[in-house]
Symmetry: C2
Subunit: 222 residues, 2 copies
């Protein structure tokens, strides 16, 4: 019997995406929650699992893997996955892989940089955001809406695939957390329609309440 442990945190966008992928692919796992606010990702024990101290990471039959994009491929191969979320077809994989590489600096970074400057550990060192210091993040978000609407325009899915894939789930979770920076979906109907479709996938939806609770605590204390 194979033994899989996922180390993550419900606030983590890639962590939730990875767990949804396992659930959608019938991959059983144990979940080990890392409380990042208590530095549980910085312990000597976890550093042996992921030397970069980021999360999620997995241990599968004693072998550790970090970086969500690498974990997904490893699990898909180890568990012989071939479903709409990550098919074996090399052309579909090429589209999905291209999105996941693009995602880092073009979806995750613009949204997360804004969240971090507003709620991250260093958010209050400079006395909080002013209209002036927030302006470049707002401007980048405005540009991002346009880019993301364009990305969805070909097939309605982020990786330009005919159906939703793990790429959409990764993107969805970044947008879910971006409620912390008041992401405005009502003014962007193509993004909203896609968002609501991905949000309705039960294996995606079921992880949102736990994230919502952490977000509520974080934002109400500001």
């Amino acid at each position: 019997m194979s033994d899989l442990v996922v180390y993550g945190n419900y606030l983590s966008q890639p962590g939730r995406s990875l767990m949804s992928f396992c659930k959608l692919s019938g991959i059983e796992f144990k979940y080990h929650n890392l409380n990042a606010f208590n530095g549980e990702h910085l312990t000597e024990e976890y550093t042996k699992i992921n030397p970069f101290q980021s999360f999620p990471a997995i241990v599968h039959n004693g072998f550790n893997v970090w970086e969500t994009g690498a974990i997904l491929v490893y699990l898909a191969d180890a568990y012989n996955v071939d479903n709409q979320w990550y098919p074996k077809d090399i052309k579909l994989r090429a589209r999905i892989d291209a999105y996941i590489h693009w995602h880092h600096q073009n979806v995750r970074e613009p949204l997360l940089d804004y969240i971090m400057v507003k709620y991250g550990p260093k958010a209050h060192e400079g006395g909080g955001l002013t209209e002036e210091t927030e302006a470049p993040f707002k401007a980048r978000l405005q540009q991002w809406y346009e880019t993301f609407t364009w990305v969805l325009s070909e097939t309605h899915y982020v990786a330009r695939t005919p159906t939703a894939t793990i790429a959409d789930i990764l993107a969805f979770n970044e947008l879910f957390n971006a409620q912390m920076i008041n992401i405005d979906l009502d003014s962007h109907p193509a993004i909203k329609a896609w968002y609501e479709e991905i949000a309705s996938i039960p294996q995606v939806q079921e992880l949102c309440p736990q994230a919502q609770e952490i977000i509520r605590n974080l934002t109400s204390s500001h």
Copy 2:
């Protein structure tokens, strides 16, 4: 007979890496040079190949792929590659894939951001770099030397694999172009020893003179 065209530019770090990978794996290709200084990556024709207008991209038997990380996996699968540069072993692939995902924001971005601010299209809009505006880029580079030395410390290779892989070639090419920001390898002997080893791979080395010529032209006009 399979038909592969690589669209790229010799100044492009991922483009050179991709071509070296093909050469090391016995994958024959035609090379289509894109002169980015003339906007050849912005044409309607190229936008059909890569809607993001970045390079490299490939067309293989009529199918287009963009994003180097996705192209590598696609070609490895399409050509049944199983060598030290990108082996089929899923554990080794997991290490290499993890590096390639990490590479975007932790190797390529800190080095390329500095190059772009010094030599990119907008470099002279603000009248060139001053000691003050250059300082944060220098500081980030100093930190980067430490991180990269640590990354190499486990196995001497960037993906923590027992031999050099495509991950090392991708990293090498970023450092090669970073001569434009006077990257200092002499003060960082572990990086220098690794760099010289990767530089000595004939299929890596043979693409450097073309890049060197473009760099010479770019830097001498400043």
